[in-house]
Every structure is written in structure tokens, then in C-alpha cells.
């Protein structure tokens, strides 16, 4: 255990403060509107705190640090694109202005006004599937951070995360969005403090013996550039070695029986892994890190053989192997869809006092999203250099856990407590915001349209609270206690893609195209789903990485097909007279709003 008494005190005070504030807001909840959208009383600065805290989860910190570990600062390109999309939407009011003016509490409710109840129900289902399944990875990744940085015994991980989710459920079930807003505010403060202090300590290091402060940024820049050059040289050497191995295996396959050839392949792979493991210190001096996994990955039976990691181009995303032009253009479109359709972000728009407040919240939060990627990315990049300097990664450390292990080493006692409290804040604010958003969609768009006799106000409130609790229980089982098979993670990516492509198309059609109708909307949902599923099936059949479809191509196709479905479906339906009469006025109330 590496935490001091002071660290524990900080964490306990934070948790008690947060719970107290969350439960205190319960007294103001009188109906579903108070519970789901805080009675639409949210102003600009509370909105900024809530939006920033909800979208900066522990899972975000983990994957953005991993991007920094593999791509250096260039890994934060996605953050810059997201900030650009936020600013554009905040300045123009694209999608968010008409949506807030419509007075709905969820996105699918808006679809009923233009496309009818069936489209609303189907879109609600897509949103819930995409949202809830994607949330499944939060607890596991968050737990990895806590175990690595705090030194908690891994066997207590599940109980720790269960207790944390229990606390979140308690205040979310009682106070809904009102509790979420107040706790988000506190979490924003502690999270911001942790991010600033950690980043400053990574850039300006203190020599413990002399107390001298050193400015490390020039060393980080030079170190990353050198690591990239050394890494590229290693990759060329490794590629020629791999080519020789492939030729040997191909020759064996041509001359020997398949079993003998497979045995040779297994032997060569194991031999290459053992060689890498033996050379790990020597390679670390050349800025190449060897990962030695000690446990099989989810869904896999055996532990993977050791493999080498090099630094991609750390500053120019256009020269990066994993990024490049196509990826950047795709991400620009993807982030535009995220900021206008992701229900947890839109919940903040719908909770705002009015559309002008919502626009201001977006515009002023935009630059926060650069730091959301750049600051944990900086920690990841510094972790890469740190492990190169000490002779490589320890056994079991991967690109995901390198950053928390690095922080545990470099952060002094007291500061570590602030960072852990900050990361708990990140996890709790994201979990509460997400639980509430998906529960509201299930209540408002999947259950209410099917209920013939309207429920009493107390019954409605009870139902939404029960849904929050049920989603929390589902997350515990799906994301923490049940071992999700490896392929299941592919389905999470697919459901996310279906959500964004179809819902973005429906929103743009509903708000900006007079000819959009229910047939086009249905076609957009079906085609938006067809593309990601087809690509998943294709990539599971074609196992050679070079022949597989890249994610940006799959993503472009999903959006293109969804838009094609909307346009062609709407026009054909209009020509054939199938389109149901609809209202272009999205500001009129729905039956249950």
C-alpha cells in the first residue's frame, strides 16, 4: 500500500462531502422534470462544470493517456477536433438551439414530433443499447487505474468499484439531475485541481534531495523525438525479421503437413517473444518498450507472447501511422456527431435555462476538451520516457497501466491523495450523468409510449428512480463481475457507431430538412446499423490486418449509408405517397411531455 494517512484523509473527506451534497438536493425533487433535467434551472457556469465533469471520466483519462503513451502529444489531435466541433456548435447553435427550444427531455422525444411514435421508440432503443453497453467498460478500466496507482490488492478491486458505484447510485437515485449537478460541481473542482497539479509536476520536477526545480518540457520534446527515430529504426529491423519468419513458415506449409507447419509457427512466435523479453533492458536504452503480459486478455485462453512498443510520430498527426489525413477527417465528422447527439451531453443542453445559455455552455467548455486529451496524454508520453530510462516496463504493465504506475512513482504523498480523489471524482461524475441519461431515455421513450393509462407523478418518479437502480445493477454484472468475452468489445464499438450515425442523421433531418419523413428515418436507422454489422462480420472473416477494413472507412460508410437512407427513403416515400403527414414544428409538445 503506497497511500499515506494524509492521502486517505483527502479521499474520505471528498467522498463524505460529495455524498452529503448529493443527498441534500433530494429535497428539491418534486417531479420527473426536476429529476431528469433539474427543472431546467441550470445556468452557464454550473453547466460548464457539469458538462466538463461528466465527459471527463476515469475511462477517458485511461484511454487518452494510452494515446499519449503510443502517439505522444499528437494523440490529443482528437481532443483538438472535438474542441473545434464544440466551439462551432456553441457559436452557431447547430442542432442544440432548436433542440432546447423544442422543450423535450430526450432526443427521441423530438423524433416523435417529426417522424411519429415508432421512430421515437426505435431510436430510443438504439440510443439505450449504444449508451448502456458502452458504459460497460467504465468500471473495469477505472478499477485498473485505482489498483495500479494506489497499490490496492487486485482481489479487492471488484468490491472497491462496487462500493463506489453504490455511493453514486445512492445520490443519483435520490436527487436525480439536481444531485448530479451539485456533485458534478464539486467533482469538477477536485478533478481540475488533480489535473493541474499532476501536469505541473510532470513538466516541472522537484529533486527530492536538493529541492531544486527542473523544467522538463525541453527534455520531454527531445526525448519523444529521439524515441520516434529509434523506434522507426527498430521497426525496420523487426519487419525484416518477421518477413524471414513468414517465409520459413510458408516454406514449411508447402513441404510439410499442416500440423508440423503450425507447430513451427508456434515455436517461432514463442522464440521471438522470449528473445524480446531477454533483450528488454537493451531495447529500453534504444527507446523501445517490451510488454510482458502476465494474464490472458478477456475472452482469450492464453497469455499473449511479449511484444515491442515504439513511439509513433509524437508531434505531427499527418505523419503518424495510426492517424493520418483520412482518420482526422473522419474524426472531425465523428466528433461533430458526438457533441450534437450523445445523450449525456445533450442532457446538459436540455437542462439549461434556455438555448442561449446552452450555446454559451458549449462555446466556453470547448477548450476544456483539448486538455481532456492533452493532459493525460502528456502523462502517458512522460510514462513512456520514464520506463525507457529505467530499463523497461515491469512484468504485467501494458500501455494502459503504464501511466498510473508512473504517477505512483513520481507523485509525492499528499499529492497522490488529491490525484486519486480527482480520479474518483472523474469516475463518479461520469457514472452518475450516464446512469441518469439512459434511465431517462428508457422511461421517456421506451416505456411511456407503451403505457396506456398515464402514471401518477409519484409513480413516474418512482419508475425513473427504479430504472437508474436497475441500470446500475446491470453495469455491475456486465462490466465488473461477469467476464465479457473478447468479441463482445467489438459489439460495443458497433453499437456506438450505430447510435451516432443513425441518430445524427435523424436529428439533422428532423431539424433542417423539410422533406424528411418517417420512411427516410426508418431507412436511416436500418442502413446506419447495417454498415457497422457488415464490417464487423467482414473483419472477423478476414484476419490479415492489412486486408481488414480500417475503422475510419467503416465509420464513413455508416454515416454515408444512414444519410443515403434518409434522403432516398424520404424522397421515394413522398413520390409514392407513403409518407405520413408530419409537423415541421418541433416546438409543439408530445403527448407525454
Amino acid at each position: 500500500m503506497t497511500l499515506s494517512f494524509g492521502d486517505w484523509a483527502i479521499i474520505v473527506v471528498y467522498l463524505i462531502g460529495c455524498m452529503g451534497a448529493g443527498i441534500w438536493m433530494r429535497r428539491y425533487v418534486k417531479n420527473v422534470e426536476d429529476f431528469a433535467v433539474a427543472g431546467r434551472e441550470m445556468d452557464v457556469y454550473l453547466g460548464i462544470a457539469s458538462l466538463a465533469a461528466t465527459e471527463m471520466g476515469l475511462v477517458t483519462v485511461m484511454y487518452t493517456a494510452e494515446l499519449g503513451f503510443t502517439n505522444g502529444p499528437a494523440g490529443a489531435t482528437i481532443g483538438v477536433l472535438m474542441a473545434g466541433a464544440m466551439l462551432l456548435v456553441g457559436l452557431t447553435g447547430f442542432v442544440i438551439k432548436p433542440m432546447r427550444d423544442a422543450g423535450v427531455i430526450t432526443i427521441p422525444e423530438l423524433f416523435e414530433k417529426r417522424f411519429g411514435p415508432r421512430v421515437r421508440w426505435l431510436a430510443g432503443l438504439v440510443i439505450v443499447l449504444g449508451g448502456v453497453l458502452n458504459m460497460g467498460i467504465f468500471l473495469q478500466l477505472g478499477g485498473k487505474f485505482l489498483v495500479s496507482v494506489s497499490g490496492i490488492n487486485a482481489e479487492y478491486l471488484k468490491w472497491t468499484m462496487t462500493a463506489l458505484l453504490g455511493l453514486v447510485l445512492l445520490y443519483t437515485v435520490l436527487g436525480g439531475m439536481l444531485s448530479v449537478l451539485v456533485t458534478d460541481y464539486l467533482q469538477f473542482l477536485i478533478l481540475g485541481l488533480g489535473l493541474v497539479v499532476t501536469s505541473v509536476l510532470v513538466i516541472w520536477s522537484v529533486n527530492p534531495s536538493t529541492g531544486a526545480i527542473a523544467f522538463n518540457w525541453p527534455n520531454i520534446v527531445t526525448g519523444l523525438q529521439q524515441a520516434h527515430v529509434s523506434g522507426e529504426a527498430y521497426r525496420e529491423e523487426a519487419a525484416s525479421q518477421a518477413q524471414k519468419e513468414r517465409e520459413t513458415i510458408a516454406a514449411a506449409r508447402a513441404t510439410e503437413d499442416p500440423e508440423a507447419a503450425e507447430s513451427l509457427r508456434t515455436r517461432l512466435v514463442t522464440q521471438a517473444g522470449d528473445e524480446l523479453s531477454a533483450r528488454r533492458k537493451q531495447l529500453a536504452e534504444k527507446d523501445v518498450l517490451v510488454v510482458v503480459e502476465t494474464e490472458p486478455r478477456p475472452g482469450e485462453e492464453r497469455t499473449r507472447p511479449p511484444y515491442a512498443m515504439t513511439m509513433d510520430h509524437p508531434f505531427n498527426p499527418l505523419k503518424s501511422r495510426s492517424l493520418g489525413w483520412m482518420y482526422i477527417i473522419w474524426q472531425l465528422m465523428f466528433q461533430m456527431a458526438v457533441v450534437t447527439t450523445w445523450q449525456t451531453m445533450i442532457t446538459r443542453v436540455l437542462s439549461a435555462r434556455d438555448s442561449a445559455t446552452a450555446k454559451r455552455i458549449y462555446a466556453r467548455t470547448a477548450f476544456y476538451f483539448v486538455g481532456r486529451f492533452a493532459l493525460p496524454g502528456l502523462w502517458g508520453a512522460a510514462a513512456f520516457l520514464y520506463f525507457c530510462s529505467i530499463g523497461g516496463l515491469p512484468d504485467g504493465a501494458t500501455s494502459q497501466t503504464a501511466m498510473p504506475l508512473f504517477l505512483k512513482t513520481v507523485l509525492p504523498a499528499g499529492i497522490l491523495g488529491i490525484v486519486i480523489a480527482a480520479m474518483l471524482a472523474a469516475e463518479m461524475s461520469t457514472d452518475s450523468g450516464y446512469l441518469l441519461s439512459w434511465a431517462t431515455v428508457i422511461y421517456n421513450d421506451l416505456i411511456c409510449p407503451c403505457v396506456r393509462r398515464p402514471l401518477s407523478p409519484t409513480g413516474r418518479l418512482l419508475l425513473v428512480r427504479a430504472l437508474v437502480l436497475l441500470i446500475g445493477l446491470f453495469l455491475l454484472l456486465w462490466g465488473l463481475w461477469y467476464e465479457v468475452p473478447g468479441r463482445a468489445w467489438d459489439y460495443l464499438a458497433i453499437t456506438g457507431n450505430i447510435y451516432l450515425s443513425s441518430v445524427f442523421t435523424l436529428l439533422v433531418g428532423a431539424l433542417y430538412w423539410r422533406k424528411a419523413n418517417s420512411v427516410g428515418a426508418m431507412a436511416a436507422i436500418v442502413l446506419g446499423a447495417a454498415a457497422p454489422i457488415t464490417f464487423l462480420a467482414y473483419n472477423s472473416i478476414v484476419t490479415v490486418p492489412e486486408r481488414q477494413i480500417r475503422p475510419e472507412i467503416a465509420g464513413f460508410a455508416a454515416f454515408a449509408l444512414a444519410f443515403a437512407g434518409m434522403i432516398v427513403g424520404s424522397l421515394v416515400a413522398e413520390m409514392l405517397g407513403f409518407a405520413r403527414p408530419h409537423s415541421n414544428d418541433t416546438s409543439s409538445p408530445t403527448e407525454n411531455s
Binding site: 438536493m25 428539491y28 418534486k30 426536476d34 433539474a38 427543472g39 434551472e41 441550470m42 445556468d43 452557464v44 457556469y45 454550473l46 460548464i48 462544470a49 466538463a52 502529444p73 499528437a74 490529443a76 483538438v80 439536481l178 449537478l181 451539485v182 460541481y185 469538477f188 473542482l189 481540475g192 485541481l193 489535473l195 493541474v196 501536469s199 505541473v200 513538466i203 518540457w217 520534446v221 508531434f315 505531427n316 477548450f367 476544456y368 483539448v370 486538455g371 492533452a374 493532459l375 502528456l378
Partner: protein, 64 residues
């Protein structure tokens, strides 16, 4: 010309990410103070409004 473009691209990218990282630290520190102050005030206002809303007479008047 190509060398100049490559040099500019290399230096420009480092300068860009330096600005993004240091700008983010500064922006987060500013938001911490500013949102901390203004956000706290907004919570008090929101709580007052919601407490007044609990009074049926005030609630009806506000809705009108």
C-alpha cells in the same frame, strides 16, 4: 523548399502542442477559480428558486 516546409512542419507542430498543453494547464487553472466562484453562486440561486417553487402560489405565478 521541401526542406524549409519540413523544418516548418516539425517546428510548427512542436510549437502547436506546446501551446495546447500549456494553454490547457492555464485554462484549467482559470476555470477552477472562475467556475468555482460563479458555479457556487449559481447552485445557491438554483436552490433558492427551487425552494420558492415548492410554495404552490409562487410556483403557479412563475409558470404563468
Amino acid at each position: 523548399m521541401n526542406e524549409l516546409l519540413a523544418w516548418l512542419a516539425g517546428r510548427g507542430c512542436v510549437a502547436f502542442w506546446t501551446a495546447m498543453i500549456f494553454g490547457s494547464i492555464l485554462w484549467y487553472a482559470l476555470l477552477l477559480v472562475f467556475v468555482g466562484w460563479r458555479g457556487g453562486r449559481e447552485i445557491r440561486q438554483m436552490a433558492n428558486t427551487l425552494a420558492q417553487d415548492a410554495d404552490p402560489a409562487v410556483h403557479d405565478a412563475r409558470r404563468k
